[in-house]
Subunit: 296 residues, 2 copies
C-alpha cells in the first residue's frame, strides 16, 4: 500500500455529525494539517450543535455546495439513509473524490453503493469503526474515541487501491487499527459477536418485563443483570435496521445459540454436575482470557 | 418487630471470611459497639489473610472453641459446605445462638438447616445479600459493600421472631435494605433475574469459543460483548452448584426464554420491521427505566 500523511485531505464532508462522524472530525483536529470539515445532516439542530461544539467548520444542507472540491465523503448517518445520501452526492463526485461509510452492516451498504454510484463505485470504500455508542449525538463526540479500536474496511475487487489506502490512513490518523474483510465475512462475524448478543439481551428484558411480577423481578435484579442487559438499552430503530440488514447471518446465529442452550438445558435436566462444570469452566476461561487481550 | 442496637451481639462467628463474610465484619467495625469477630475456615491461608487485614479478631480452625458464647453464626462459605458446617456447630449451639447464612439459593439451605439443626432449626434465619462478587477472597472485602443493597431473609413459619429481628438489624447496620420472602419465592425470582442470565452468558461464550474461527470472532468482539459476558467470567464451581440447587426453577426459566427467542426469531424470519421495533422499544424502555431506579 501507499502511505499518506495528514495533508492528503483538504476538505472532508461528513454526513451525520453525531458520535461517530463527530469523533472523526475531532480527531482530525489533532493532526498537523487540519482539513476543512463540512457537516451535512437532516436535522438543522444537530448541525448547529456540531458547529457550536467546533466539530465542523461549516454546516451545510445544500449537498451540491457541500460537495464542491471535496476530497473525502464520510457517511456516518443511520444506514437506512445511505442509498438516498449516495444518490444525492453522485452528481457532484469528481474523479478524485473518495467515499466511505461507518455503517454496522456491510453487505447491504456495498450493494447500495454499487447500485447508486455506477461508474464511481470503485471510489467507494465500505467501513465499520468498532466503537461503543452508548451515547449519541454531536455532544457525545470524543477526539480519542477510536484510539486502539478496530476499524474494518470491506473493499470490493474493483475498489481503487488509492481509495483503500487513503481511507486506511484516515482511520489510522484517528488512532484505529484497520483490518480488511469481505462484506459477507464482516456481517457473519458481527452477527455472532454483536448482533446476536443484542437480540439476546432485548429478549431477556422483554421476557421479564411482560410478566405480571415484573416489578418484583426488577426490584431484585442487580449488577449482573445490569451489565448483561446494558445493550438492551440500545437504539430500537437502529437495531431493527441492523437485524433486518443482516437477517440471514443473524437467523443462523440464533439457531446455533438455541442449540447451545438446549445442550446446556439437557445437562441441567440430567443434573450432570461434571458436564455443567466443564462447560462453565471452559466458557469462564475463554471469557477471562479474552478480557485480558482488550483495551477497555 | 423489635429493634436492636449494635450491642446485641458480643461475639460473632463467621464461616468463610471472603468478600461476603469479610465485608460484614468490616461494616460491623464501624458500629458504636464492635462485637468480637471470630473467623472459621477450611483454608488456614485465607484465615491468616483475614486476620492480617483486620477483618477478624480471632482465626479458628477448632469449631468447638470458636463457638463458645457465640451470639451469632454467619455461614458465608460455598453453599455446598453448609450441611457440614451446620453439623459441626449443632453440638455447640445454646438456646440464644442465632444462625444465618449468605447463600445464593434458599430452598436447599432451609432444607439443610431443618435436617441438621433439629430442635434448633427455629434459631436459623436463611439470608441472601444481593451484592456483586466479581472479586472474591478476604482482600476483596469492603466496609460499604452492603450500603443500599438488598438482603433477602427466608424465615420459616417456626423461626423465632427474635432471630429474624436480630438478623434484620445486623444487615441494616451494614446499610442494607432487608426484605422477606419464602425460600421458593426467592429461588424463583433469582432464577429469572440472576441464574438465567448467568447461564445465557456462559452459553454464548461457549457457543463462540468452540468454533474454528473463535480467534477471529473474539478479535472483533467489543464493549457490548464485554458487558454482556462479564458474568460468564464467574466462578464455575459456584455456578454449577447454584444451577443444580435451583434446577427446577431454572429449567422453567430456560424454557420461557427459548420461547421468547423463538418468537423474536419468527419476527425476523418474516422481516416484520414493526414487530421487531415494537419489541426492541418495549425492552429498551423497560431496561432504561429500570437502570434509573438503581444505585449502581
Amino acid at each position: 500500500m501507499t502511505w499518506y500523511n495528514s495533508t492528503m485531505f483538504k476538505k472532508i464532508v461528513i454526513f451525520g455529525v453525531g458520535l461517530i462522524g463527530g469523533s472523526v472530525a475531532l480527531s482530525l483536529k489533532k493532526q498537523a494539517h487540519i482539513p476543512q470539515v463540512v457537516g451535512v445532516g437532516r436535522s438543522g439542530q444537530s448541525l448547529q450543535e456540531a458547529l457550536k461544539l467546533g466539530l465542523i467548520d461549516v454546516a451545510e444542507t445544500d449537498v451540491a455546495h457541500a460537495m464542491q472540491d471535496a476530497d473525502l465523503v464520510l457517511i456516518a448517518a443511520p444506514v437506512a439513509q445511505t442509498p438516498a445520501i449516495l444518490r444525492s452526492i453522485r452528481p457532484h463526485l469528481n474523479a478524485a473524490t473518495i467515499i466511505t461509510d461507518a455503517g454496522s452492516t456491510k453487505s447491504d451498504v456495498m450493494a447500495y453503493a454499487k447500485a447508486e454510484l455506477g461508474d464511481k463505485f470503485d471510489q467507494f470504500v465500505g467501513g465499520h469503526p468498532i466503537a461503543g455508542a452508548e451515547k449519541s449525538g454531536p455532544a457525545a463526540a470524543m477526539a480519542d474515541l477510536y484510539i486502539g479500536k478496530n476499524v474494518i474496511l470491506t473493499p470490493d475487487a474493483d475498489t481503487q487501491s488509492t481509495a483503500i489506502d487513503k481511507v486506511t490512513a484516515l482511520w489510522q490518523q484517528c488512532g484505529a487499527v484497520v483490518s480488511r474483510m469481505s462484506p459477507q465475512e464482516h456481517d457473519n462475524v458481527f452477527a455472532a459477536v454483536s448482533h446476536l448478543p443484542h437480540l439476546l439481551a432485548f429478549a431477556l428484558v422483554e421476557d421479564l418485563a411482560k410478566r405480571d411480577n415484573a416489578e418484583l423481578l426488577f426490584k431484585f435484579a442487580a449488577s449482573g443483570f445490569r451489565d448483561f442487559t446494558r445493550i438492551a438499552g440500545s437504539h430500537p430503530e437502529m437495531w431493527r435496521d441492523i437485524a433486518l440488514a443482516n437477517k440471514t447471518a443473524l437467523l443462523g446465529e440464533l439457531k446455533l445459540y438455541q442449540q447451545a442452550l438446549s445442550e446446556m438445558t439437557a445437562l441441567l435436566e440430567k443434573a450432570d454436575a461434571d458436564g455443567l462444570q466443564a462447560l462453565f469452566e471452559h466458557a469462564s476461561r475463554a471469557r477471562n482470557d479474552w478480557a485480558k487481550t482488550k483495551i477497555q
